[in-house]
Protein backbone atom coordinates (compact mmCIF):
# COMPACT_ATOMS: atom_id res chain seq x y z
CA UNK A 1 0.00 0.00 0.00
CA UNK A 2 2.23 2.65 -1.28
CA UNK A 3 -0.25 5.52 -1.10
CA UNK A 4 -0.63 5.23 2.71
CA UNK A 5 3.00 5.93 3.61
CA UNK A 6 2.32 9.04 5.67
CA UNK A 7 -0.54 7.43 7.58
CA UNK A 8 1.45 4.32 8.41
CA UNK A 9 4.38 6.44 9.49
CA UNK A 10 2.45 8.47 12.08
CA UNK A 11 0.55 5.40 13.30
CA UNK A 12 3.80 3.51 13.80
CA UNK A 13 5.22 6.43 15.77
CA UNK A 14 2.20 6.49 18.08
CA UNK A 15 2.27 2.71 18.50
CA UNK A 16 5.99 2.69 19.33
CA UNK A 17 5.71 5.49 21.84
CA UNK A 18 2.45 4.48 23.55
CA UNK A 19 2.26 0.74 22.84
CA UNK A 20 0.43 -0.10 26.08
CA UNK A 21 -2.31 2.52 25.59
CA UNK A 22 -3.19 1.94 21.94
CA UNK A 23 -5.68 -0.62 20.64
CA UNK A 24 -7.54 -1.40 17.43
CA UNK A 25 -5.57 1.01 15.28
CA UNK A 26 -7.07 1.14 11.81
CA UNK A 27 -6.19 3.10 8.71
CA UNK A 28 -9.67 3.36 7.30
CA UNK A 29 -8.61 4.99 4.05
CA UNK A 30 -6.31 7.70 2.81
CA UNK A 31 -5.94 10.40 5.49
CA UNK A 32 -8.26 8.73 8.03
CA UNK A 33 -6.86 6.97 11.10
CA UNK A 34 -8.91 5.45 13.94
CA UNK A 35 -7.32 4.52 17.26
CA UNK A 36 -8.78 3.30 20.57
CA UNK A 37 -6.77 4.86 23.39
CA UNK A 38 -6.94 4.41 27.13
CA UNK A 39 -8.25 7.26 29.27
CA UNK A 40 -5.15 7.90 31.39
CA UNK A 41 -2.75 8.12 28.41
CA UNK A 42 -5.11 10.27 26.33
CA UNK A 43 -3.60 13.63 27.26
CA UNK A 44 -0.04 12.46 26.68
CA UNK A 45 -0.89 11.19 23.21
CA UNK A 46 -2.63 14.47 22.39
CA UNK A 47 0.34 16.48 23.63
CA UNK A 48 2.60 14.39 21.42
CA UNK A 49 0.33 14.78 18.41
CA UNK A 50 0.17 18.53 18.92
CA UNK A 51 3.96 18.72 18.87
CA UNK A 52 3.91 16.72 15.65
CA UNK A 53 1.74 19.36 13.94
CA UNK A 54 -1.73 18.05 14.71
CA UNK A 55 -2.71 21.38 16.23
CA UNK A 56 -6.43 21.42 15.48
CA UNK A 57 -9.07 19.63 17.53
CA UNK A 58 -11.80 19.64 14.93
CA UNK A 59 -14.58 18.45 17.23
CA UNK A 60 -15.47 15.89 19.87
CA UNK A 61 -18.30 13.48 19.18
CA UNK A 62 -19.92 11.32 21.82
CA UNK A 63 -21.34 7.82 21.51
CA UNK A 64 -23.44 5.37 23.50
CA UNK A 65 -22.66 1.68 23.09
CA UNK A 66 -25.05 0.41 25.73
CA UNK A 67 -22.67 -0.58 28.53
CA UNK A 68 -20.12 2.05 27.74
CA UNK A 69 -20.22 5.69 26.86
CA UNK A 70 -17.39 7.47 25.16
CA UNK A 71 -16.03 10.27 23.07
CA UNK A 72 -14.13 10.50 19.81
CA UNK A 73 -11.56 13.28 19.50
CA UNK A 74 -11.05 14.28 15.88
CA UNK A 75 -7.58 15.76 15.63
CA UNK A 76 -6.17 17.05 12.37
CA UNK A 77 -3.24 18.82 10.78
CA UNK A 78 -5.64 19.91 8.00
CA UNK A 79 -4.52 16.92 5.92
CA UNK A 80 -4.76 13.76 7.99
CA UNK A 81 -7.54 13.26 10.55
CA UNK A 82 -6.69 11.12 13.56
CA UNK A 83 -9.74 9.91 15.50
CA UNK A 84 -8.98 8.97 19.10
CA UNK A 85 -11.75 6.90 20.67
CA UNK A 86 -11.98 6.86 24.47
CA UNK A 87 -14.47 4.75 26.43
CA UNK A 88 -15.83 5.09 29.95
CA UNK A 89 -18.29 2.88 31.92
CA UNK A 90 -21.93 4.01 31.90
CA UNK A 91 -22.42 3.72 35.70
CA UNK A 92 -19.90 6.45 36.46
CA UNK A 93 -18.90 8.12 33.20
CA UNK A 94 -15.92 10.41 33.72
CA UNK A 95 -13.45 11.79 31.20
CA UNK A 96 -10.54 14.12 31.79
CA UNK A 97 -10.75 17.55 30.18
CA UNK A 98 -8.43 18.16 27.22
CA UNK A 99 -8.33 21.92 27.87
CA UNK A 100 -4.62 21.89 28.88
CA UNK A 101 -3.72 20.70 25.37
CA UNK A 102 -6.53 22.12 23.23
CA UNK A 103 -7.96 25.26 24.92
CA UNK A 104 -10.64 25.58 22.24
CA UNK A 105 -12.42 22.44 23.43
CA UNK A 106 -14.65 24.16 26.02
CA UNK A 107 -17.84 24.19 23.99
CA UNK A 108 -17.36 20.63 22.71
CA UNK A 109 -16.81 19.33 26.22
CA UNK A 110 -19.84 21.18 27.54
CA UNK A 111 -21.89 19.57 24.79
CA UNK A 112 -20.65 16.11 25.73
CA UNK A 113 -21.47 16.82 29.37
CA UNK A 114 -24.99 18.02 28.58
CA UNK A 115 -26.07 15.60 25.88
CA UNK A 116 -24.36 12.40 27.09
CA UNK A 117 -23.97 13.04 30.81
CA UNK A 118 -20.26 12.28 30.82
CA UNK A 119 -18.67 14.21 33.67
CA UNK A 120 -15.70 16.15 32.34
CA UNK A 121 -13.02 16.54 35.01
CA UNK A 122 -11.36 19.94 34.98
CA UNK A 123 -14.02 21.80 32.99
CA UNK A 124 -14.73 25.21 34.58
CA UNK A 125 -18.32 25.54 35.86
CA UNK A 126 -20.88 27.24 33.63
CA UNK A 127 -24.47 27.13 32.45
CA UNK A 128 -26.05 24.48 30.23
CA UNK A 129 -24.63 24.93 26.81
CA UNK A 130 -26.79 23.42 24.06
CA UNK A 131 -29.72 22.60 26.33
CA UNK A 132 -31.92 25.45 27.57
CA UNK A 133 -31.60 26.72 31.14
CA UNK A 134 -33.88 24.87 33.54
CA UNK A 135 -33.66 21.61 31.60
CA UNK A 136 -34.36 18.68 33.98
CA UNK A 137 -31.15 17.50 35.66
CA UNK A 138 -29.98 13.98 34.95
CA UNK A 139 -31.69 13.78 31.55
CA UNK A 140 -29.26 13.44 28.66
CA UNK A 141 -31.20 13.41 25.40
CA UNK A 142 -28.62 11.75 23.15
CA UNK A 143 -28.36 8.61 25.30
CA UNK A 144 -30.04 5.61 23.75
CA UNK A 145 -32.22 4.81 26.77
CA UNK A 146 -34.02 8.16 26.64
CA UNK A 147 -37.55 7.84 25.26
CA UNK A 148 -38.46 10.87 23.18
CA UNK A 149 -42.20 10.79 23.90
CA UNK A 150 -41.68 10.65 27.66
CA UNK A 151 -39.08 13.40 27.54
CA UNK A 152 -41.34 15.65 25.45
CA UNK A 153 -44.26 15.02 27.80
CA UNK A 154 -42.15 15.89 30.80
CA UNK A 155 -40.85 19.08 29.16
CA UNK A 156 -44.35 20.18 28.12
CA UNK A 157 -45.67 19.63 31.64
CA UNK A 158 -42.80 21.65 33.07
CA UNK A 159 -43.48 24.39 30.52
CA UNK A 160 -47.19 24.49 31.47
CA UNK A 161 -46.30 24.68 35.17
CA UNK A 162 -44.05 27.70 34.64
CA UNK A 163 -46.77 29.60 32.82
Amino acid sequence: MSELIKEEEILKEIKDKFFEAVENAIIQRKERIWIDVSENKKLEIMKYLKERGYYHLSTISGFDEGEKLGAIYHITNHKIIINLRVRTPKESPVLKSVLPVYPSATSYEREIEDLFGIKIEGLPPGRNYPLPEGFPKGVHPLRKDVKLEELNKMLDEKCAKEE
Partner: protein, 146 residues
Amino acid sequence: MKLKDKIILWSRIKSPWIIHFNTGACNGCDIEIVDALTPKYDIERFGIVLKGTPRHADVMIVSGPVTRQQAKRFKRIYDQMPNPKFVLAVGTCACSGGVFDGCYSVLGGIDKVVPVSAYIPGCPARPEAIIDAVVKLITELEKSAK
Protein backbone atom coordinates in the same frame (compact mmCIF):
# COMPACT_ATOMS: atom_id res chain seq x y z
CA MET B 1 -61.94 58.98 12.94
CA LYS B 2 -59.83 61.91 14.01
CA LEU B 3 -57.35 63.46 11.62
CA LYS B 4 -54.47 62.38 13.83
CA ASP B 5 -55.56 58.72 13.69
CA LYS B 6 -56.02 58.99 9.93
CA ILE B 7 -52.46 60.17 9.48
CA ILE B 8 -51.11 57.41 11.70
CA LEU B 9 -53.07 54.75 9.81
CA TRP B 10 -51.96 56.16 6.47
CA SER B 11 -48.32 56.06 7.46
CA ARG B 12 -48.70 52.60 8.87
CA ILE B 13 -50.20 51.24 5.65
CA LYS B 14 -47.90 53.11 3.29
CA SER B 15 -44.71 52.26 5.12
CA PRO B 16 -44.75 49.27 7.42
CA TRP B 17 -41.42 48.80 9.15
CA ILE B 18 -40.36 45.27 9.72
CA ILE B 19 -38.00 43.38 11.97
CA HIS B 20 -36.61 40.02 11.08
CA PHE B 21 -36.25 37.41 13.81
CA ASN B 22 -34.83 33.91 13.59
CA THR B 23 -36.17 31.57 16.27
CA GLY B 24 -34.02 28.62 15.22
CA ALA B 25 -34.32 28.34 11.44
CA CYS B 26 -31.83 26.58 9.18
CA ASN B 27 -31.25 29.97 7.45
CA GLY B 28 -33.05 28.95 4.25
CA CYS B 29 -36.02 31.22 4.95
CA ASP B 30 -33.73 34.01 6.17
CA ILE B 31 -32.00 34.04 2.80
CA GLU B 32 -35.39 34.27 1.05
CA ILE B 33 -36.40 37.18 3.29
CA VAL B 34 -33.19 38.98 2.38
CA ASP B 35 -33.89 38.09 -1.23
CA ALA B 36 -37.31 39.74 -0.98
CA LEU B 37 -35.76 42.91 0.47
CA THR B 38 -32.84 43.30 -1.94
CA PRO B 39 -33.05 44.72 -5.50
CA LYS B 40 -34.35 41.71 -7.43
CA TYR B 41 -37.72 41.61 -5.64
CA ASP B 42 -37.23 44.92 -3.84
CA ILE B 43 -40.12 45.22 -1.39
CA GLU B 44 -38.43 48.36 -0.14
CA ARG B 45 -39.99 50.19 -3.11
CA PHE B 46 -43.35 49.77 -1.31
CA GLY B 47 -41.97 51.62 1.67
CA ILE B 48 -41.17 48.50 3.65
CA VAL B 49 -38.00 49.09 5.64
CA LEU B 50 -36.02 46.58 7.62
CA LYS B 51 -35.30 47.89 11.12
CA GLY B 52 -32.78 46.68 13.62
CA THR B 53 -34.86 47.19 16.74
CA PRO B 54 -38.28 45.86 17.72
CA ARG B 55 -39.22 49.24 19.23
CA HIS B 56 -39.44 50.81 15.77
CA ALA B 57 -41.14 47.92 14.00
CA ASP B 58 -44.78 47.29 13.09
CA VAL B 59 -44.40 43.84 11.57
CA MET B 60 -42.24 41.01 12.83
CA ILE B 61 -41.12 38.48 10.24
CA VAL B 62 -40.25 35.23 11.98
CA SER B 63 -38.50 32.24 10.47
CA GLY B 64 -37.91 28.85 12.02
CA PRO B 65 -39.45 26.65 14.69
CA VAL B 66 -39.32 27.98 18.25
CA THR B 67 -36.64 26.18 20.22
CA ARG B 68 -37.05 25.86 23.98
CA GLN B 69 -33.94 27.96 24.41
CA GLN B 70 -35.33 30.79 22.28
CA ALA B 71 -38.99 30.85 23.39
CA LYS B 72 -38.52 33.17 26.37
CA ARG B 73 -36.31 35.59 24.42
CA PHE B 74 -38.71 35.61 21.48
CA LYS B 75 -41.65 36.51 23.74
CA ARG B 76 -39.60 39.31 25.24
CA ILE B 77 -38.72 40.78 21.83
CA TYR B 78 -42.38 40.55 20.81
CA ASP B 79 -43.45 42.36 23.96
CA GLN B 80 -41.09 45.22 23.14
CA MET B 81 -42.90 46.03 19.88
CA PRO B 82 -45.41 48.90 20.05
CA ASN B 83 -49.10 48.22 19.36
CA PRO B 84 -50.65 47.45 16.96
CA LYS B 85 -48.22 44.70 15.99
CA PHE B 86 -48.33 41.93 13.43
CA VAL B 87 -46.42 38.70 13.05
CA LEU B 88 -45.68 36.87 9.80
CA ALA B 89 -44.64 33.23 10.08
CA VAL B 90 -42.28 32.52 7.17
CA GLY B 91 -41.74 28.89 6.16
CA THR B 92 -43.21 25.56 7.15
CA CYS B 93 -41.13 25.38 10.33
CA ALA B 94 -42.49 28.67 11.61
CA CYS B 95 -46.06 27.58 10.77
CA SER B 96 -46.04 24.19 12.46
CA GLY B 97 -42.55 23.11 13.51
CA GLY B 98 -41.96 21.35 10.20
CA VAL B 99 -39.38 18.58 10.18
CA PHE B 100 -38.18 19.63 13.64
CA ASP B 101 -41.56 19.01 15.30
CA GLY B 102 -41.28 16.49 18.12
CA CYS B 103 -37.61 17.09 18.83
CA TYR B 104 -36.77 17.52 22.51
CA SER B 105 -35.30 20.96 21.91
CA VAL B 106 -38.18 22.33 19.82
CA LEU B 107 -41.43 23.74 21.16
CA GLY B 108 -43.24 23.82 17.79
CA GLY B 109 -44.63 26.52 15.51
CA ILE B 110 -44.41 30.15 16.57
CA ASP B 111 -48.16 30.32 17.27
CA LYS B 112 -47.42 28.43 20.49
CA VAL B 113 -45.67 31.53 21.82
CA VAL B 114 -47.20 34.60 20.12
CA PRO B 115 -50.36 35.24 18.04
CA VAL B 116 -49.70 35.07 14.29
CA SER B 117 -51.30 37.30 11.61
CA ALA B 118 -50.30 35.39 8.48
CA TYR B 119 -48.74 32.03 7.72
CA ILE B 120 -46.46 31.61 4.70
CA PRO B 121 -45.76 27.93 4.01
CA GLY B 122 -42.89 26.70 1.87
CA CYS B 123 -39.48 25.21 2.47
CA PRO B 124 -38.07 27.76 2.00
CA ALA B 125 -40.94 30.20 1.35
CA ARG B 126 -40.48 31.94 -1.99
CA PRO B 127 -39.98 35.74 -2.03
CA GLU B 128 -43.18 36.07 -4.08
CA ALA B 129 -45.08 34.33 -1.29
CA ILE B 130 -43.57 36.67 1.29
CA ILE B 131 -44.55 39.72 -0.80
CA ASP B 132 -48.05 38.27 -1.25
CA ALA B 133 -48.43 37.87 2.51
CA VAL B 134 -47.28 41.44 3.12
CA VAL B 135 -49.74 42.77 0.53
CA LYS B 136 -52.59 40.73 2.02
CA LEU B 137 -51.75 41.95 5.49
CA ILE B 138 -51.81 45.60 4.32
CA THR B 139 -55.10 45.21 2.43
CA GLU B 140 -56.72 43.60 5.47
CA LEU B 141 -55.46 46.49 7.55
CA GLU B 142 -56.94 48.96 5.06
CA LYS B 143 -60.29 47.15 5.09
CA SER B 144 -60.48 47.04 8.86
CA ALA B 145 -59.96 50.80 9.04
CA LYS B 146 -62.98 51.54 6.84
